[in-house]
Symmetry: C2
Subunit: 504 residues, 2 copies
Amino acid sequence: MNSNENLRLIYDQLSELYRLRSIYALLDWDQQVNMPPKAIKDRADQLETMALLIHQKKTDTEFGRAIDELYEHIDSLSEPDQVNVRETKWELDIQRKLPDSFVAEKAQATTLGYNAWVDARPADDFKAVQPYLEKVIELCKRQVELIGYEEHPYDVFLDLFDPGSRTSAVKPVLLSLAGELKELIPSISKQFQGQKRLDGHYPEARQCELIHRVAQDLGFSFETGRIDRTAHPFMASMGSKDARIATRYYESDFISALYSTIHETGHALYDLGRSVEYAGTPMGESTSHSVHESQSRLWENLIGRSHEFIAYLSRLLPEYLPEAADIDESQLWKLINHVEPSLIRIEADEVTYSQHVVIRMLLEEALITDTLSVADLPDAWNDMYEKYLGIKPESNKNGVMQDVHWYIGLIGYFPTYALGNLYNAMMMEKISEVIPDLSQQVERGEFAPLLSWLRENVHIHGMHYRAPELIKRITGRDLSADAFVGYLKKKFLSQPLIAGRSSV
Amino acid sequence: MNSNENLRLIYDQLSELYRLRSIYALLDWDQQVNMPPKAIKDRADQLETMALLIHQKKTDTEFGRAIDELYEHIDSLSEPDQVNVRETKWELDIQRKLPDSFVAEKAQATTLGYNAWVDARPADDFKAVQPYLEKVIELCKRQVELIGYEEHPYDVFLDLFDPGSRTSAVKPVLLSLAGELKELIPSISKQFQGQKRLDGHYPEARQCELIHRVAQDLGFSFETGRIDRTAHPFMASMGSKDARIATRYYESDFISALYSTIHETGHALYDLGRSVEYAGTPMGESTSHSVHESQSRLWENLIGRSHEFIAYLSRLLPEYLPEAADIDESQLWKLINHVEPSLIRIEADEVTYSQHVVIRMLLEEALITDTLSVADLPDAWNDMYEKYLGIKPESNKNGVMQDVHWYIGLIGYFPTYALGNLYNAMMMEKISEVIPDLSQQVERGEFAPLLSWLRENVHIHGMHYRAPELIKRITGRDLSADAFVGYLKKKFLSQPLIAGRSSV
């Protein structure tokens, strides 16, 4: 086939795959948001059918042949076609190195691992999951052998969630971040000691209206998305104009639903800001989990937890949540920015969060490189928490068993959370130059200029630039922790915390 | 292949088809209930992909071969297998008589017909849709030639929605029904003349809680279903334990959402009452649209509009809808049972409804048998309304253009609504013998014995018995209008309407 025929073939296949993946996303979203509980068996069957159809499309031999032929003459293609062929081939090449028998074995091991984790965690019984985790880690090491690597075995896993990232670049940066945070955390957290926490009652219906208003102000449109209630907050897109946020409500704590919504809004705005024309192709896909996380965290933390945003929020409360209207701006800032080392990652604050990630990265790298055994993992985990956060888990339930990731074979995923923090701080330095009155805009509740900048400089590019290249294009610099550490120091140490907002 | 291999093959295919159909149902439900408006293009693509997958499975040649081979020795199969082979082959045989080119041509003509109808109806412009409807009717006549018939061309269309029903049986019964109703309507409707209508404000949130309570009391479980808001009420199942009701609310009229919910609950209970073991096969499918409609109308009308049910409802109102608590039982009965000839089918009451159906049946039969041209249809419509309901449409918008059915090629569908009325009245005569204290149960809000009877005698059989056979098994009689007419006479003419409930 000539290039045009091959291009038509791969675009047809990618379009079909996009539809199937979107349908899968709807089935999954519905399961988490709407599905009546007893429908679970039928839904599992439906998801299985879609997964199989997606697998068949992805492994179609004609599709693979077309990609390989196009790749041979990639320089003769247009730039978007080059990106799409390059990234499609890149993903396909990884898949083709994994025999069906291996994929099936890993799928089974991770299903068993998940079930074992579900049962063992409440019982705090690490011994019960240990053999399952050992099997999963063994298969991950086999995966390294099958796929191969140039520099470091852990690169195989970084590549899955942040294509092109290298252990040689990521690890030193995260270690230096951890060192800086070790110094910062005690002096920051002591300022919050003895702080009063929320103790009111904040009706769900009112919280719901508040988060709808805030998401809309940030640029989220209900013409292309919705917000629902669920057990575990998430965002899912099932089309280029259909991004759905799901959050959970605590009537004793409105900050939880509000900030999970701002976080998920950041994810949604990234999905909605990409090219509709290239939807379903790499040019229309997110470039990495790290960049996705940079978008959610930029809105949640750098914007959402700023004095200026909290001033904007304070103006909304009397109308939307009168139950919270008597909390003054400075109190609200302290409630929203409370810093305190804790054992559970998903409950961690903006300052301590990355330590949880560094701990996990170091441990999973050690597991993969055989410098740590699964049997020794709980002790290693607890020692790491003592070293980096100054606290020691009293149980495995709140220690090594708190996250599902490893038990389902997700190695290399954790770093994306911390990389998101570093990327967004680097981006924000640039944004502050380009939009000098950003603070005043945020305080006024004007977010459109910031969103426009993100759309033009991040969202619209899809996978045109991989994350390391994208951040270099934006900032002129390679990945570094400087911007993030500088941001934390300025925010928490360079001004009296009780003074309320400093600018404007 | 031997019978066992063939059976395994067809059950695998039916199971896969069931999953695909359920996924299609979810995509469609989501579009009507949740989907953000701008996602419409992506959703159309996703529905197209699923429709194509379903078509491919249905027309798989191996599947057809296996069915044909099994049918040759059908007597050697178990009874459930016989039903599944018989009904699958029956549907397949119809499909195989329609060439792909014909299917494509009809799909295109009905899409054009739909679009033309959407535009022309608000403009009251029948001339604009006439050529499209002529094309659709021409194709329906070609369909008759392609499929063939033994007795009457209209049987081809009855078979699509009520397999095994014959014009020779249905038409005389519906005509005799129409004759009876012509006599009854004036004397019944004059009792409602000058009646005061609802004039309060009934907040949606309260209506929502009321309809959840009523649906649950009727036997609908939120473990296997849900109730949502939509623009046009409907019920859809996306699995054997996932039946979803959608209704719409008018804050000036709580009766609308309440009775559409009771109607859709009847549909849902039928879907949820069928065999889980045979889900996806004819043994687990509804036997016909008529029987489906008999279930929704039995709950909505025979139960829901009875004095006893309204007594039960009156007890709920102070708690659930205090805004309506001052309406006394006898007023409420009159509001809920208001009878008055009107032009619009979907707004018609229990007494006049069937006339709308008879009119449509006579007209579509005439169109198909070439005794009426599309050009003459509006006049014929208006004459029929004058003849059967004593009122004449002032516009085609509220006349021949009110329903979408014909413009999208749905011929033979209308009779199922009236057949549902006749079937449920026939069933109810039997039920009253078997559950002599049904009235008292309904007044107490006890619906479980009735639901059990319906499950055992109707739901669980799936397509084991076709509708005419099912009703004969239950009542010992063939289709007749006697039970329904008798029910109406007893309800509306044998007791003073203002007296409130007569029993208990």
